[in-house]
Symmetry: C2
Subunit: 223 residues, 2 copies
Amino acid sequence: MSFAAPESLAEQIAKHLAQRIIAGELQSGERIQEARVVNELDVSRGSVREALLILEQRYLINILPRRGAVVAHLTEKHVTDLYALYVNLLTMVGAEVAQRWRDEDLEPLYRLWKQMQRYAAEGDQALFIDSGFTVMHEGLRISGNDYLRQVLEDLQPAVQRTYALAVRRYPAEIQHALQFFADLLLAVQQRNTAVIPSVVQTYGHHQTGIVLAALAEETAECA
Amino acid sequence: MSFAAPESLAEQIAKHLAQRIIAGELQSGERIQEARVVNELDVSRGSVREALLILEQRYLINILPRRGAVVAHLTEKHVTDLYALYVNLLTMVGAEVAQRWRDEDLEPLYRLWKQMQRYAAEGDQALFIDSGFTVMHEGLRISGNDYLRQVLEDLQPAVQRTYALAVRRYPAEIQHALQFFADLLLAVQQRNTAVIPSVVQTYGHHQTGIVLAALAEETAECA
């Protein structure tokens, strides 16, 4: 495995480890040993340390005083708390975008929407999920609030981890997500800020339920 | 200056630099040179690098590709965006606390409230501001949402920076803040979740205005 510019080395290492946590290869409570990552990726200890700080900031690991880095646990409470915050922030993005979009902003959103439909039809889960988050990033760009952008970018990997878990078990969920994006984009296009909270909350509530069901199944299997 | 346990060295260095930014000693756009911090505090380069990453996560500095660490700019847009997010999250904390508090949670809140009244009467701005944030931390403890806690803890120094700027210029603001906390604690005690959004938003709107006025004065003086 080799890493190249332009992202910082620490960021690349963080993304690589994040991918493994999201895919479920590295599991809750599993230790991530600095020295092992240094050897496997042939990178400096300093870069790995920085990467672990980035992953902690993104809620994927905890760095414990004497134990080092451990993949963050995912309990019912984690999922409920994470989605409560995520839904609140997405509602804020949706409302801002509905108020602020200009004509030139709609075309990229429609293009992403077409892409999501295609990935859904082809059953490509990973690309579908990625393009869903790309819609969020596009919304953050339109909203222009850099604080909100950083907070949501930091939360994204943890949300992606729970969502990937749910979709692995319930692939039909993609159709549900597609309908949510259709409703959301319509509300945005109509500048219907009044309806956005309920659109986002309804879907957020549904998604929380699906993730909790997937988590309960997984826990039962591992027990 | 010397640093001791139990916080990590990086965290201590970060807090020290944060204090200087909040107090206005290090100003918008000013460079923070790694080597200089290493010499001044007699600490390792690695610890300073980690401290700078922490400060970037807390919105106090930007780390730029070739220029290194620079104190984050504070424009009208920064203040407006920061408070839009902060007010939204504080509303969430307030609503959660109003729903969740148990009998044993009220006593620490009242004690903090008494403390704030005393600091206000004594005109001790720094301690007053600190105890205001302690109320927030107490609220986060009661809400129990660790994601919300981390996001608000990361935002706090940037908010504190703007608020310290405002209070330095308008010391009478403390009375306004005191009234806000009185209204908020009453709504929480009455479990009146319906009124919390407007209490927080009204104060947030006022505070945004005061910070912007202080910022405009400062900018005019420096021009």
